[in-house]
């Protein structure tokens, strides 16, 4: 329980976005309600924040170029025709790729010879908690798959998008930085430590700050 007398404006500003989201506990909510009754400054920040959200969430804020819908419809028709004729689509070439990956997985060529770490095969298991439909990025020459926006994707010009399920089926393992939250219960091998040591600064600092 937050002491109402102790609630400072700075504290209110820090929580105001969560307050608007309905994402503060009952005690803090009551303390903030109380604070808004007497503090004009904070009240005006609250009203303004709500106005910002209301204005920008309005459909009228989105303008599409003239003819957008027509051009989209045409392109989708072409895409559908190409699919119907059975070639040149994104998923069509995935089939042989997936088949190859399964074969490769069967004889364990790539991973066991290039990354001779005993945890590798276990490490390939923990994808269980990742939503199978989540779209993830893979690149040539790397065994990890990533959430879009991850800072440790190498070879970016070879990026492909797959679902997490496909990536796991093809033998990719989750990136321990961007997909960390899904891997908390999994045992991590050396790969994770290396990557985290290099890259986790930004995410961790923000997490710490948000917890404060």
């Amino acid at each position: 329980m937050v002491d109402r007398q102790e609630l400072k404006c700075e504290h209110v500003w820090r929580e105001i976005s969560n307050y608007v989201e309905g994402d503060v506990d009952a005690g803090l909510r009551a303390a903030m309600d109380e604070h808004f009754k007497t503090c004009q400054k904070c009240k005006s920040v609250l009203e303004g924040t709500r106005n910002v959200i209301e204005l920008y969430s309005d459909e009228r804020m989105i303008e599409v170029p003239a003819g957008f819908g027509r051009r989209l419809e045409r392109r989708l028709e072409q895409g559908a025709r190409a699919r119907a004729s059975g070639w040149s689509t994104w998923s069509a070439w995935l089939v042989p790729v997936a088949a190859l990956a399964l074969i490769a997985g069967g004889v364990r060529i790539a991973s066991s010879s290039t990354i001779p770490h005993p945890l590798q095969s276990e490490h390939a298991q923990p994808g269980r908690d990742i939503p199978p439909d989540m779209l993830v990025i893979v690149t040539a020459g790397a065994k990890d798959f990533h959430a879009p926006g991850c800072g440790v994707i190498h070879n970016k010009d070879t990026e492909r998008t797959l679902t997490a399920k496909e990536a796991i089926q093809q033998g990719y393992v989750p990136c321990v930085r961007c997909l960390r939250k899904y891997l908390e219960t999994a045992e991590l091998g050396h790969t994770s430590l290396e990557i985290e040591a290099n890259t986790s600064r930004d995410a961790d600092e923000e997490d710490v700050r948000a917890r404060k």
Binding site: G48, M61, I62, F68, L76, W90, P132, P148, T161
Partner: protein, 219 residues
């Protein structure tokens, strides 16, 4: 078992209609796909534009994203909202394009810097009422778009996905590949910065005094 019956329990419901359309497209009636995505085409375009800030790139990426959604329609599971799934594909495509092209060098540098300390509101102008008709005016929309464009990209991305595209916090976190805590921190800052940029102006009547201002491109 026979082909699932497509007679709808509640033909008036948009959701049911959408589920029906999804099922048909998944079974190969791809010509119905445009009908399925049409209600979301504006949001898809806006998501791409917010990330790429270039109208023709945004249109191209929006189309690519829709094609990708069509190619992967069988992967879609009913537990997710279709609109969210579509937006997430679009965000993926747009982020990939942005990384590939690396056009916005200045922003790239800024993004490496983390938030220093807390953000303190600067303007305490009273801003309770927003005239509902304000958004009818082009210059008001332009003013809002300009304000959004001044935000660092890390804040803008989060704000656009959460507050304009209506993804929830978790979905925003997944779409951008950042933690939930980071989404919340950046969202707070984005909202407060926009409030600072707009509150005083609204109070002092900027929005009613800009009839002939030449607008830059939105976002």
């Amino acid at each position: 078992m026979a082909e699932p019956n497509l007679v709808l329990n509640n033909p008036g419901s948009d959701t049911t209609r959408e589920q029906d359309l999804i099922a048909r497209v998944q079974r190969g009636q791809t010509e119905l796909f445009y009908e399925l995505v049409r209600p979301y085409e504006r949001r898809v375009y806006a998501a791409a534009l917010a990330i790429l800030r270039n109208e023709s790139d945004a249109e191209d990426v929006a189309q690519e994203a829709m094609l990708k959604a069509l190619a992967n329609i069988r992967q879609f599971r009913a537990e997710a909202r279709f609109s969210t799934w579509l937006i997430q594909i679009t965000v993926n495509e747009a982020l990939m394009r942005r990384r590939r092209e690396r056009t916005v060098v200045m922003e790239g540098i800024d993004d490496r810097r983390d938030e220093e300390g807390e953000y303190t509101p600067r303007d305490f102008a009273d801003w309770r009422e927003i005239p509902s008709e304000a958004l009818e005016r082009k210059e008001v929309r332009q003013r809002l778009a300009d304000a959004l464009a001044t935000l660092d990209r890390k804040y803008r991305d989060v704000f656009v996905l959460r507050d304009m595209e209506q993804l929830n916090i978790q979905e925003t976190s997944e779409a951008l590949g950042i933690s939930v805590a980071s989404v919340k921190t950046r969202l707070l800052r984005a909202r407060l910065m926009l409030r600072d940029l707009l509150a005083g102006g609204w109070e002092r009547g900027w929005f009613s005094r800009l009839p002939f201002e030449k607008g830059s491109k939105p976002w």
